[in-house]
């Protein structure tokens, strides 16, 4: 039985002149885990918003038999409120007609926490949480809302491998409870490990729906992008050059050299978040450090400004004379960056209307253009499709060849192993271990260190 059936829907956005969806169809069976895959800007998120009912389509038929709950890619949590308040919005238990029964809410949420084996202090403010924890709060929120159809937009992108594994288990247990799950993901593991079927979208159109079991894992990525993916390999033979930049983290001095990529990783609360804050402050006072924030929405861009404004925001001086901006110069420059980095958007479109991946491309393009000596990249490929992620890896590789130093902060152990010359692993706010010989580095080893296990 189909719990969601979508027939020939179209959606046009006039703000940035894009046809997000055209003649898209999708059928979801009750109780399945259905993955939706495709490039950035393929219209996946728009489709999910239409299913959830927060966006309306221009034409076509939609039939949904159940309550939907959605965890969007960019969290909708309120930073200044605590976890409990965020979870109960929309489903507040009420006593004496209009008073919010926080005690009851507390019990109900704790039941969910115990059931799924999560641990959270419900009185913590959202602003004190890491990305992974925020994700968890969002998930608990949709579970709490008692939705039948759960929609996840890139849920594992921000999670460490351990957390992602836990999350996938959570989805499977939700499936056991007869929930229907729709998940957007770029991670092949999400699709191969848990999905029953997956649907491929390209440029707002339906391409095909595939039963996951019927295809090989290696085939999935080809199905997803339509082209053969070439994995970038980093040339480790380039020897690091002279010292570029150093900082002290918890009594340990980390020095970055020319042609060197240093990976820093860890799980959830390891202190990566705080380290990013420190490094951000350093980068602000130093023109030779380019910084790409992990939370690109709140730190990387101003959502209401035009894309061209976002692209020149780092160096407005270059585009101004006597305090006046030279818009013609800005337009040419922005057009150049947009084509060069394949950003799907026009120079005048509102930055906030870009898809997550394209947003990240704009932020990275802006920093790369500045040509600093040192780059601080924080979760650079979070929420980005395989092809674009590979483009970013290629870009990092060419930076390395140009004798630049790169500091890569990422929760993604595989990414760190693939790119780095050296890896620092954080645990509870300190460096628990350093891997200097990259030939021994495996995700399992990093996983072990990240959980605080040093020797067996």
């Amino acid at each position: 039985m189909n719990i969601v059936s979508i027939e020939h829907i179209s959606k046009y956005f006039s703000v940035n002149d894009t046809q997000a969806l055209s003649d898209m169809s999708l059928e979801i069976t009750k109780g399945e885990i259905h993955a939706v895959v495709g490039e950035n800007g393929a219209g996946k998120s728009t489709l999910m918003k239409i299913i959830h009912g927060v966006e309306k389509c221009d034409s076509g038929n939609i039939k949904i038999n159940g309550k939907t709950g959605m965890v969007s890619q960019h969290f909708r949590l309120i930073e200044s409120l605590n976890i409990l308040e965020n979870i109960i919005i929309g489903m507040e238990p009420i006593k004496k007609k209009f008073i919010v029964d926080k005690k009851k809410a507390f019990e109900q949420i704790n039941e969910i926490l115990v059931f799924y084996g999560f641990s959270l202090n419900l009185n913590t403010k959202i602003k004190d949480l890491s990305i992974g924890q925020k994700q968890l709060v969002e998930i608990i929120k949709v579970i709490y809302n008692d939705s039948d159809i759960l929609i996840f937009d890139e849920p594992t992108a921000a999670l460490s491998e351990l957390e992602a594994e836990k999350f996938r288990k959570t989805l499977l247990s939700l499936k056991e409870k007869e929930k229907t799950i729709i998940i957007i993901s770029h991670k092949i593991k999400d699709i191969s490990a848990i999905s029953d079927r997956f649907t491929i979208m390209r440029k707002g159109r339906y391409i095909e729906t595939v039963t996951t079991k019927s295809v090989d894992i290696s085939d999935i990525s080809r199905h997803m992008s339509g082209t053969e993916i070439v994995n970038p390999t980093i040339d480790r033979s380039i020897k690091p050059g002279k010292e570029l930049f150093s900082f002290i983290y918890n009594n340990e001095k980390i020095t970055l050299h020319e042609s060197e990529i240093i990976g820093i990783t860890g799980y959830g609360d390891c202190g990566l978040h705080e380290l990013e804050d420190t490094l951000e402050e350093l980068s602000l006072n130093n023109k030779n450090i380019g910084y790409v924030p992990s939370d690109r929405l709140s730190r990387g861009v101003e959502l209401n400004s035009a894309l061209k404004e976002t692209l020149v925001a780092k160096n407005p001086r270059e585009f101004s004379k006597y305090g006046l901006l030279n818009w013609r110069k800005i337009d040419t420059f922005s057009k150049k960056l947009i084509t060069e980095y394949n950003i799907k958007g026009t120079i005048n479109c509102q930055t906030g209307t870009l898809s997550g991946g394209n947003l990240q491309k704009s932020v990275i393009a802006r920093v790369l253009y500045q040509k600093p000596e040192t780059y601080i990249l924080c979760s650079p490929t979070w929420g980005i499709d395989i092809e674009s992620a590979n483009n970013i890896y290629h870009e990092i590789e060419s930076l390395k060849k140009q004798k630049k130093g790169i500091l890569l902060l990422s929760y993604d152990a595989e990414e760190v192993i693939k790119m780095s010359n050296r890896v620092y692993i954080l645990y509870k706010g300190r460096i628990i271990s350093t891997i200097k010989d990259m030939s021994v580095a495996t995700p399992e080893l990093i996983g072990k260190y990240s959980s605080g296990i040093i020797n067996e």
Partner: protein
């Protein structure tokens, strides 16, 4: 006028304005609502000879006006400052036009009434900060109102009508300021042009000085009322009243500097 008579309109208007602040906007028409309510109340009471009728009809009319004002602002996504200022100016025009039409005067309109009992309004005004604190922190309406001000998308994704909360907040602020205007009319037993004499604007200032917190606002209103009493008193002596009227601003400035220093030290 004694302390309670002075603080009442301040409290009503600033706590009313606080609701719109929670919903993420500002109602700059507080002053206008005070003035027009006083006018409507005096007019209806004079024409019908019934305070009760005057009171109820005024509240009803303000409800309708504020509903139109806020729903237009929200639906048309207009700038709330501009619509608020337009409402303010429109009210003044309306008052002098109607005043001339009905009473053939643009000046003072007096009621032939002995004392009007205003105690219930005073009590309500004093209790209002505490009631508001309760509503904001304990009720569902309060939670959603705050969320509306912090993130509209949060409400949309939970599929709650986000506009409802801003609309009602605007109406609450209009009604409470209106009550302040009615109170002034009752106290003076007449309508005089510029009866609000800047109370609406000062209330907006108090909201910010009170850090958008009901108790902070209560304290702010208290300081301003005391200053008002002093300035009335000083007119009989040789102290410039402007100096005393400036005192609350000066005091809050000092208070802000001190509290900010504390905050930065804590952050370090």
């Amino acid at each position: 006028m004694n302390f309670f008579e002075i603080i009442t309109p301040f409290l009503l208007a600033s706590i009313g304005g606080l609701y719109t602040e929670y919903s993420g906007t500002t109602n700059v028409a507080l002053e206008g609502y005070i003035t027009i309510s006083a006018f409507i109340f005096i007019t209806i009471t004079k024409l019908t000879n019934s305070i009760l009728l005057g009171f109820c009809l005024t509240i009803g009319i303000i409800l309708i006006i504020s509903f139109i004002h806020s729903s237009l602002t929200i639906k048309l996504k207009a700038n709330p400052i501009i619509t608020g200022l337009a409402v303010n100016m429109g009210f003044y025009g309306l008052i002098s036009a109607l005043s001339y039409k009905i009473f053939k005067t643009k000046g003072v309109i007096s009621l032939d009434y002995p004392n009007i009992e205003t105690m219930p309004i005073k009590i309500l005004a004093i209790l209002l900060p505490f009631i508001t604190l309760f509503i904001i922190s304990k009720t569902r309406y309060g939670l959603r109102l705050r969320v509306r001000g912090l993130s509209k998308k949060s409400l949309i994704y939970s599929r709650i009508n986000a506009d409802y909360y801003r609309l009602t907040a605007m109406m609450i602020s209009a009604i409470l300021s209106g009550l302040g205007g009615i109170f002034l009319g009752m106290e003076l037993r007449s309508f005089i042009p510029n009866i609000g004499s800047g109370r609406g604007w000062i209330s907006l200032v108090i909201i910010y000085l009170g850090r958008k917190n009901p108790i902070g606002i209560l304290i702010g209103c208290g300081i301003f009322s005391v200053a008002q009493i002093f300035s009335n008193y000083s007119q009989n002596h040789n102290v410039p009243s402007e100096f005393i009227l400036a005192l609350p601003y000066f005091l809050t400035l000092i208070a802000l500097i001190i509290s900010m220093r504390k905050k930065t030290i804590n952050n370090r």
